[in-house]
């Protein structure tokens, strides 16, 4: 999120931009986005010359035939994928990357340095371009990719062997692998999914399919000794670099650590393991009985269960508390340490803990309007649009980025006043 301490945390409100003014200048304005620091609103705009991006009412100089995937980077730079003269590239704050491609997609950011990456199709095949530097070798096909936490490395599932149409036996020989910074692992698999970098960016783990009905987890190309009937996405323990993954055994789903049962118990379903910031505690979304969902911390499931879904688990900064989005009977709310908020909403967004872990804040939606809820109570006004709230580094203020009557406002509020 860039250097938050350098953002303006003065309590008060500022009108950042008025979209009505934009609409006077451009025939079309769409896909509005807001910078993390709330200082800028960006969007795709259409003028007489074509399409381009606009920030706080000022359009980029260059226009394009196509513009999409407009996003602000964590360090507040407006980024988009563009096409002109049948050449695609990435444009950052109006400056295009030098290299162009047949196609560009899947724009992502990572790291404090604000690394920017995209997937590309060029003359020599498919690859990744990270901060303007493309992988040397192209692949036959690429699917999902991840960036290392520091944003310096990229790993992607890649097709390494040509497969003729209908070649079901060739498929069983394995034609997929993981390429890290453009270099594929030595070994192929039938399939590769769910890639993850270790905290230091040195290792990559992935779900791999060894045979038609045999799955495992591979780390840097080497599968675990144990194999399973099914697996889900692995993750690295930030504390010691061990790899955890949900795996299916006869009794159900367990959380395995380097091939061993970590919690000593199984669930009807288990996925999305997460670690506390210091790596001392582990949690995962689990289904303790058919059709019921909850969180399990260190293998211990919350008593409260939910019928529809549980998503986005978040540990508090001190690792003692856990919050998640929960949904029951088609109503959304936040569950914290095993208890759901009393109020329910049409939609809720990922919860945020205050730095002292005492309070939980979330963006919520009701009747088409957006607001902030703190510890289960709506504490803000209702807005036409609201972007992810940010709690200040001191923990006493919250940055509210709100769209109201076509005007975008930046508000800093005292948490204690809410």
């Amino acid at each position: 999120m860039g250097e938050q301490q350098n953002w303006d945390w003065e309590v008060g409100e500022r009108l950042v931009t008025d979209l009505a003014e934009w609409k006077k200048a451009f025939s079309d304005v769409y896909d509005e986005v807001v910078s993390p620091d709330g200082e800028k609103m960006g969007a795709i705009v259409k003028g007489e010359e074509g399409l381009t991006c606009c920030v706080n009412g000022s359009a980029w100089e260059q226009t394009y035939e196509k513009v999409y995937s407009v996003k602000f980077s964590p360090d507040n730079r407006l980024t988009a994928i563009t096409m002109a003269d049948d050449e695609w590239t990435t444009v950052v704050d109006g400056a295009p990357w030098e290299q162009t491609y047949e196609y560009v997609w899947n724009l992502r950011f990572a790291g404090r340095g604000g690394a920017i990456a995209v997937q590309t199709k060029g003359d020599d095949g498919y690859g990744i371009c990270l901060d303007g530097k493309a992988w040397e070798a192209g692949f036959l096909q690429i699917r999902d990719y991840v960036l290392s936490p520091d944003g310096r490395r990229a790993a992607c599932s890649v097709q390494t062997k040509e497969l003729a149409e209908g070649d079901i036996f060739g498929f069983l020989e394995g034609g997929w692998s993981v390429a890290v910074d453009g270099k594929p692992w030595d070994r192929n698999f039938l399939n590769v999914w769910g890639l993850a970098f270790s905290a230091d960016g040195a290792k990559v783990a992935a779900e791999v399919r060894l045979e038609s009905t045999v799955y495992s987890i591979a780390v840097d190309g080497k599968p675990w000794d144990a194999s399973y009937g099914c697996v889900w996405e692995p993750c690295f323990d930030p504390k010691n670099g061990q790899v955890l993954a949900p795996v299916k055994i006869e009794s159900g789903w367990i959380l395995a650590c380097d091939g061993k049962d970590l919690w000593g118990r199984s669930f009807g379903q288990l996925w999305r393991p997460v670690f506390s910031p210091d790596g001392s505690r582990t949690a995962a979304i689990v289904s303790p009985s058919f059709g019921r969902w909850t969180m399990a911390v260190e293998g211990q499931a919350w008593n409260a269960t939910f019928g529809d879904a549980v998503t986005d688990p978040v540990f508090s900064p001190d690792g003692r508390r856990l919050a998640a989005i929960v949904k029951d009977k088609n109503r959304w709310t936040i569950g914290v340490d095993g208890a759901a908020w009393g109020e329910t909403f049409d939609m809720v967004w990922r919860p945020v803990f205050t730095p002292n872990a005492k309070r939980v804040l979330a963006k919520v939606e009701r009747n088409g309007k957006f607001a902030l809820a703190l510890d289960g109570r709506v504490v803000s006004g209702e807005y036409d649009g609201l972007y992810d709230p940010v709690i200040g580094p001191e923990g006493d203020r919250v940055l509210v980025k709100a769209l109201d009557g076509g005007k975008f406002y930046r508000r800093v509020l005292r948490l204690g006043d809410l």
């Binding site: 047949e102 899947n106 699917r143 999902d144 209908g166 079901i168 379903q269 059709g291 019928g307 967004w349």
Partner: protein, 443 residues
């Protein structure tokens, strides 16, 4: 007593070559694993309840289209496959598995019409799917179907569509529609939209205009919608039919993960029946969801809502004599027959219903993964649905609406083979001809 011909030999490397690698031990172990660990109580109840009355026979389009050839009766298909595996405690040979695979994959659409004729409501389709599960675990699956499942596994879509091809298709269709309707944008990855629209792999591959039609419908109706630019956009699932439930679950999980990530209130899916079944029932159940974590609506229900609520105004009616197919998975499976007829009557001036209809309608004979078994089995499929051709011919319609991709392709083959002189259309093709484009949206 009538005598019937034996089945014609059909070559398929997915069956012929794969059985060569089987050992008696592997077959026995696999069958017992499925019977004892995966199917368990439900299977026992069905097997012990069946009184072998044969009343399911007349429900089956294969049986009826083969003039009552008993080998195509649902009970026979179970008797010749699963019952034999149970009776012999898994001690069957490779040849038996080949025959079981042929029956289970190419002579049953798992359409569940027979369950309605069974006095006990036994889900015979479940029994056939259990055979398919065994065949998958043994690696004996028709080549084309297996190749489709391999595509699901590698790309999370049905047709080996590459990520750039998908987005490029959306942008191309958007461009086409922007020439027709003001603001007909296809919003990619718009978090917080009301609707996530998902389609099946063949749409970007062969029928991109259907995506364009939905763009127009969404725009005219003023819907808040989005389409995922990355994996999760394909709602189809042939792994459900090949017995590869692990890949089935992976595909469905990605579909719902994408909807949860985009924070949509519901998913509207295009006109496909099997995809509805996979996304609404079979996939969620395997994953542990009692119901989809994000409400899922088939296109027919969506069109009904738009027309019934007045969000779409019908200003012109389609005049050619027209009939329809009730896709099994949305009519027998979900009960959308009345809504389907509502939208037909709302848009067509000469709608001629079929007989039998609603949940009693015959399957198209393409669903259940049968059409995905590919060219080697086309004759089996087309010969297995003469009754469907007779049913359509009786309507004297000129157009058949099929709000399902499998029905659409299968019925095109029926129309061609039985020389019906009819055209096959998706409902959205009719709808875009009939709706009012408000003056403010006219280009």
């Amino acid at each position: 007593m009538a005598t019937f011909p034996e089945r014609e030999p059909v070559e398929d490397i997915g069956l012929d070559e794969t059985i060569k690698k089987l050992t008696p031990e592997r077959i026995e172990k696999t069958i017992l694993k499925v019977l004892n660990e995966e199917s368990a109580a439900r299977l026992k109840v069905y097997v012990n309840t069946c009184v072998h009355c044969g009343l399911c026979s007349n429900a089956c389009h294969f049986y009826n289209s083969h003039d009552g050839d008993v080998k195509y009766a649902p009970v026979s298909k179970v008797k010749d496959t699963l019952w034999e595996m149970i009776r012999k405690k898994g001690r069957v040979d490779g040849e038996f598995i080949r025959k079981a695979s042929r029956i289970a994959f190419t002579e049953c659409n798992v359409c569940r019409r027979c369950s309605m004729y069974c006095p006990f409501g036994i889900d015979l389709a479940y029994l056939i799917l259990t055979v398919r599960r065994i065949c998958h675990l043994l690696g004996v699956v028709p080549q084309y179907l297996q190749d489709t499942v391999n595509s699901h596994a590698a790309t999370l879509n049905q047709m080996w569509v590459k990520p750039d091809e998908w987005i490029d298709t959306l942008q191309w269709q958007e461009e086409e529609q922007l020439d027709e309707v003001v603001g007909a944008r296809i919003p990619l990855d718009r978090e917080g939209a009301e609707i996530m629209y998902s389609v099946i792999g063949p749409e970007p591959k062969f029928l991109p205009q259907l995506i364009g039609h939905m763009d127009q419908i969404m725009t005219v109706a003023g819907m808040s919608w989005t389409v995922p630019s990355l994996d999760g956009w394909d709602n189809s699932n042939m792994a459900m039919y090949s017995g590869d439930f692990e890949i089935m679950a992976r595909v469905e999980r990605k579909h719902y993960d994408k909807a949860l990530e985009l924070k949509v209130k519901k998913i509207v899916m295009g006109e496909c029946g099997h995809a509805f079944r996979g996304a609404a029932y079979d996939g969620p159940k395997w994953l542990g969801w009692l119901r989809p974590p994000v409400p899922l609506i088939h296109a027919v229900e969506f069109y009904y809502d738009l027309i019934h609520s007045g969000r779409l105004k019908i200003v012109k009616k389609y005049e050619e004599p027209i009939t329809l197919q009730d896709p099994c998975n949305i009519v027998r499976g979900k009960g959308l027959g009345n809504k389907l007829r509502y939208i037909m009557n709302a848009t067509c001036s000469d709608f001629r219903d079929v007989e039998p209809r609603f949940e009693h309608n015959y399957c198209c004979c393409a669903g259940g993964g049968v059409i995905n078994c590919g060219p080697p089995w086309k004759t089996t499929r087309v010969n297995g649905n003469r009754v469907k051709a007779e049913q359509f011919r009786a309507t004297e319609a000129k157009v058949i609406v099929t709000p399902c991709h499998n029905c659409h392709s299968g019925i095109e083959d029926i129309v061609s083979n039985y020389k019906l002189d009819m055209h096959v259309k998706f409902f959205c093709e009719i709808l875009v001809e009939c709706i009012e484009i408000p003056e403010s949206l006219k280009v």
